[in-house]
Amino acid sequence: MNWHSLLFWPHNLPLSLLVLFLLATTFLYAARAQMHGVIQAVCHLVASSMRVASHWLFGSANALRERNRTVLLAQGQSEAAEHIEREFERIASTVRRDLQEYPALQRKLMEDITRIEDDYQRCGEVPPPPPEWVRALESVAQIQSGGDIPRKLLEDVHKSVQKIHDKTVTEYRHSCEGRHKILKAMMPTWRSVSKAMEEVDKKMISLDTNSKKIDDHMEKYQAMRARDVKAEHALTISGFVQFVIAGLVMLIALGGAFINFKLIALPMSEMVGASDYLTNSLKTSDVAALVIILMEASMGLFLLESLRVTSLFPRIASMDDGMRRKLMLAALIFLIILACIESSLALMRDMLVADKQALLHDLSSSAAPAQESGLLSHIPMAGQMIMGFVLPFALAFVAIPLESAVHAARTVLGALLVQVMRALAFVCRFVGVAFRRLSRVLQMAYDVLIVIPLLIERIVSGVGVALPARAGAQKPGSAS
């Protein structure tokens, strides 16, 4: 369609455009009130819808946040309770292991102490008996007469005393020696008592540490019970940190799984065929290799689950010990079988690669293939086989970060969802406010298009208002 067809007089463009402009302006002026109404109604509709959406989003975000908080605190309480329970178990085991020997230890201590007391009593120094002969000497010395008799008597006494003194000193020395021997014999007992006391002290310190840990956990637990904001923040941050750490570890595990895949994809083609495809680009051998790896991861998951390292499946956690042990054994056997299969596949891969290399060599030249060093050619093969055997077990441990990621994902995704909903609510509110203002802007823009008729209208209405006013003003004058 040519725009010239819109012109009334195509040979006279200015006149045609002027007529078109006048017609359009007249139409727009006539439809002014209705167009203003339409603009206002549409903008009001959008603004109201956005406001409702914003309200709903804010409300939902708050409800979700509250729900997240409840779940987070419940999880935190559960974890704290588990920690407290574990600490109590440790204390119980310490008490069972160490303090069940306490009566024996106490009896031993008492016996040692009694022995030490007895020995102490025995080695006490007995004072020599008071010399009875001193009073006899005093009586002899008071004799005034008798010539040399007192002197002789005194000399005899001196001799006897000297003899008795010597005997007493000898006995005293013997006695001292005996007491020293007793004291010497007491030394091991003292050491034994000291050692026993040190042991008791050590055990008491361990108990004390555990008690302090329980106190800490109890404080956290109480804060969670009281729905403390700090506790909630701490739990949220802990969730994010756990998620990131678990993600990193899983990324490393993914690298291991990729290497594993590369190791067994080629030999799997020997088993299921190299030209078989599941979809346009998905080879059956690749899927088979992937299935083997996923089975290894699953067996590892069941193994750690049955060992109670993880708790992803409540059904396994609630099994009785006998059944759980059977499951653990089954998972371990499957894992070992898969590791052996993978190891043999790694060997087969090496053989296939060597075979292909030999073929390529034969195809490229007719010369005899170069002889390889036996040891050097066996090292990669052995390495591949070892890797094939070890990687499934290493992959089994991915269950631990997986559990952490699953648990932390609820917190992380919940918090992110709240933020996204809030951002959307803000955008909705902003758009609503913008549309409310836009209504006025559009109305004014519309009026700009019909500014000439509006000016005429204003002049005409001004004249209409002025004429009656002037008529009103002239009336009193004419009367006068």
Partner: protein, 220 residues
């Protein structure tokens, strides 16, 4: 319970449908025509090297046949060696070795032919390739593309090469081409037009055998 059963059946059906995909559609089939007329009889060793390249490049499940272009080539008797490689890589390697041995024997005892029936070879190749049901079908012609038919051989009718790639290898210039290059260009243009009219999916000419062998096979 019924809903779960239905869901399980749906998943099983999806898997079985996925599993029933045509595996042959991902394979390649190559039919190589080796011109043995005139001076080309002396270039069979070059053709053997190209066969070696194809053997090294083709995967388990692919098919390869090598035939000579003789006076009347629309016959299985001219096929020197053919094989559809086993799905298992180890078996495929053994088959490739055997194939290589046959080609080496052929290269040692080649006798030149009096005429060059390229059209007959193309028809035989198309028949072989269509029987393989491979996803990618290629006819490789190791020749100067100068057809010289035996008396009595009728080849002036439309041929059918639907979905087949045709690769002309080592198209040497004849003595007359040097005098008038238009002969060479016209010859190639004639074959391209004929091949495309027959429904071929592609027409490729490779004269640099050292650097552009990778263009023989379609690497989609």
């Amino acid at each position: 319970m019924k809903k779960r059963l239905a869901a399980a059946l749906a998943v099983a059906a999806m898997l079985s449908t996925a599993g029933c995909g045509d595996s042959r559609a991902h394979t390649q089939a190559v039919y190589m025509l080796v011109d043995t007329s005139g001076t080309y009889a002396k270039q069979v060793n070059k053709a053997a090297k190209i066969v070696s390249y194809l053997l090294a490049t083709l995967n388990p499940g692919d098919s390869l046949a090598v035939a000579k272009v003789a006076s009347r080539s629309f016959t299985e008797k001219d096929i020197v060696a053919k094989a559809t490689f086993d799905d298992r890589p180890s078996r495929a390697t053994l088959q490739k070795r055997a194939f290589k041995a046959k080609i080496d024997a052929f290269a040692r005892h080649t006798e030149g032919s009096a005429h060059t029936d390229i059209t007959g070879g193309l028809l035989q190749g198309a028949e072989y390739l269509n029987e393989t049901h491979a996803g990618i079908k290629t006819i490789v012609i190791f020749s100067d593309m100068e057809e010289d038919l035996d008396r009595g051989a009728v080849r002036d009718f439309p041929i059918k090469l639907t979905g087949i790639r045709v690769v002309a290898l080592n198209v040497t210039k004849l003595g007359t081409d040097n005098a008038d290059p238009r002969r060479y260009l016209n010859r190639l243009a004639h074959w391209e037009a004929r091949v495309r009219k027959a429904g071929a999916s592609d027409w490729v000419v490779i004269n640099d055998l050292d650097d552009h062998l990778d263009r023989i096979l379609d690497s989609r």
